[in-house]
Amino acid sequence: MSNPYIQTTPEQLSEMLAKIGAASIDEIFNDQIPADLQYKSSFEIPEALSELELQAHLAELAARNRVAAPGSGFVSFMGGGIYDHFVPSAIMQVAGRQEYVTGYTPYQPEASQGLLQAFFEYQTMISRLYDMPVANASLYDGASAVGEAVFMALGIKTERDRILLSQTIHPDYRSLVATYMAHFGVKVETVSHEDGVTPTAALEKAIGDDVAAVVVQHPNYFGCLEDVQKIGEIAHKSDALFIVIADPNSLGVLAPPGSYDADIAVGEGQPLGLNPYAGGETVGIFTCKKDFMRRVPGRLVGLTKDKSDRRGFVLTLQTREQHIRRAKATSNICTNHAHNALRSTIYMSLMGPNGMARVARACLRNTNKLKNLVEQRKPEAVAFKQPVYKEFVVRTKSPAADVQREMLDRGFLAGTPLSLRTNAEFGEDLLLISATEKRTDNEMEQFVNALEEFL
């Protein structure tokens, strides 16, 4: 058999065909599909490999990637939205249980209480971390969470058609909002940064009673802290919604969005125990104020009781969703990022409030230590004079993309050239560097020694 996952023996095939009343599988297809639509030639795709051969091939493919890991000869100072954080070993062990991996959306609550309870715990933890009353059961990633937040804001502020995005938001997120809004007659405007942060004076000038939402990221794409208190006040003075993008890892030490009156707070959950995976292991965090609960996109798990009064969990407010409401749904989302949300729930459970604080303080400490080291050698190299959390921007003498490549030979993944995702919007000579809790003083020392000549 060319497909090792099919269990039917030739004898069984005959018996099954007899019961169906067909001479062959072909006959069943011919019954349904006009003959001239059936493709009879070769598709010319690669030949089948046995599992034995495929293991070797996949390992060889993976070996062709150069990754930062102990023993690889590379140390990562990459950030810009995806980070090299510590992932506790327990996550993989328990999240890898087949009930979690292979099941689907818990439409049948009696058969899926485990998953439903895990998502309820996820919602609760995210709500407490962000200090926001409502959290959904996940979206795809940080970028799509911003897109959904903007959609929701436009649904709440129906008379308004402008969205103000700070230029300090992750460029992929900004691009996504532009894509999502491209044909809606909505004006998506960018407020240019000044010295690495959103200038509140410019924001005050830009805002008006036609603005549905003001969106900022804090800490922002450059790692700088934004004046979120003031920005929120400006948004609310014009009765616009205040949307904040916050790294969940930062909230171990930074004031949460709920404390400065964010209306909607979103984020990328990768720092919560997920692998960097080329930016492909993500979970979109979505939280909001209670008033907006019935407008939330995606799945929501609610607490309830069964007929014997036992506590249990169900998917709730499903009339918001596409499978009930169809075109009138609050979002088209169906499959979300449940498994990654589960992994982050296990991460937050292991870390607890103390672990979250320890990791956040270590990120803050390491990044600022690294920044101090750079400033000691090259006082002018740090691009923005702002407090930073987990990353910062340096100015390089040659194009930052070239510096990144040079640093590879010295054993470092040196950071993100800002030109990579921004079409040179910020020029060619800015490099974004991150030092998470995983970096040691020795690594940082050696990194600055190697980087110094390029600054």
């Binding site: 060319s2 099919i6 990459m78 459970s349 409030p353």
Partner: protein
Amino acid sequence: MSRRIQIANDGDGLSVKARLDTQTIFELSEPGRTGFSLPPESADTDEIVKAALPSEFRRNTPPALPEVSELTVMRHFTHLSGRTMGVETTFYPLGSCTMKYNPKINEYGAWLPGFTNLHPDQPTETMQGLLEAYWQVQEILGKLTGLPAVSLQPAAGAHGEFTALLMTKAYFADRGETARTQVIIPDTAHGTNPASAHRVGLEPVEIKSNERGRIDVEALRKVVGPKTACLMVTNPNTIGLFEDNLREAAELVHQAGGLVYIDGANFNAIVGRVRPADFGGDMMHINLHKTFSIPHGGGGPGAGPIVVRDFLRPYLPRPTVVRQNGDAAAPFAFHNDPKSIGKIRSYFGNVAHVVRAYAYLRQLGEEGLRAVSDYAVLNANYLLALLAGHYDIPYGNRCMHEFVINATKQKNQGAKAVDIAKKLIDYGFHPPTTYFPLIVPEALMIEPTETENKEMLELFAATMIDIAQKAETDAAQIVDSPRTTPVQRMDELGAARNPVVTA
């Protein structure tokens, strides 16, 4: 720190199971307990944090996360997994979702550190292995569908629909055809279709299916015209039938200047046998988590790549993976077309799933993929044959990879479709999809997939027949199910009326 949920629990609590059954992780919390192991904090941390972080930015109250040990975490989540069904627990015939076995070689590949540790902003020369997998999957999906331009970025099927519809809008905007604002959708469609259309600012126009459960070409003729942006069709459709007049329908749409979108949720029924381009598709999404064996993860992540005709290639989301200069020996690179609709997701998509799909495609090859559709269709038809006569199965005695029961007869006897579904749980099965598609009353939508064996299909059929007989004689005991599960029927109305979404 821990906040306790005040909800009545049953039992006296004097067993480990009772304890684990009735507590959330928050109730297991004990202040001072930890489940992590980190190096000691550097001596200068306080000093640096103080200097670097102005006080107004600081968190004053720590988040009320649980304080639990690693063992408690392991027990808790192991216990929860035991209250959840997976494909390796039992037969999972959830129609439309293709709950087939997920081969473990896919996981072997997906968890290789050479993939998991990649950072998206690394130079492309350091990620050639990944880019090769991307390029290969693009190529193979293009060949299997006849739609050669591919983006692997959409994170789910609905995201693929949304992306392709955005491309449709961009394409017509480029041609100055801005009057094309309608998406024609048959009434058998998934809810995501009209929701996605609405999401890009297009107007869904529903057409009724004909008495054969297929597109009504005459109904289509009445609505197609200069306002048509596209026709959106699932083929095979959600009744489990091949849309055998889709080519004619597609011609009508093309003559009117519109495009044809194929919802590829059911591609597993025809992969290796039919290329959707050949029945008129211009664009299509593919659910890697259905046809190509990616695990469903309890509701995702999925992956919904889109494949389109060459004239739509420039509009694909940024970036796609190409071979530099089209040279077969050249390194792989990212390509950003100036006409691209832009980003629809950060970075490159659900990368691990691309690796899994690559493993699956490489293991099966052409013959193995054809066997997917062969045996998916065989198994569905066998199950249909076993159940025919016991249940009302509208639209004929043959199907593709799934079929739909109309349980109105059982409803009239006192057991609705939902009751039958719940009763199946008591027998250890995961229920089929219920109340979908909407055009079949009391619908039970059954998809066995190719990976189940004859014995399991027969056991399921025998159980279904037993339930049908019980419905005739004693429907009350079906309505009373499930009884073997940790909880019984839930108060869903109460949950929605007074939503409690956090502890």
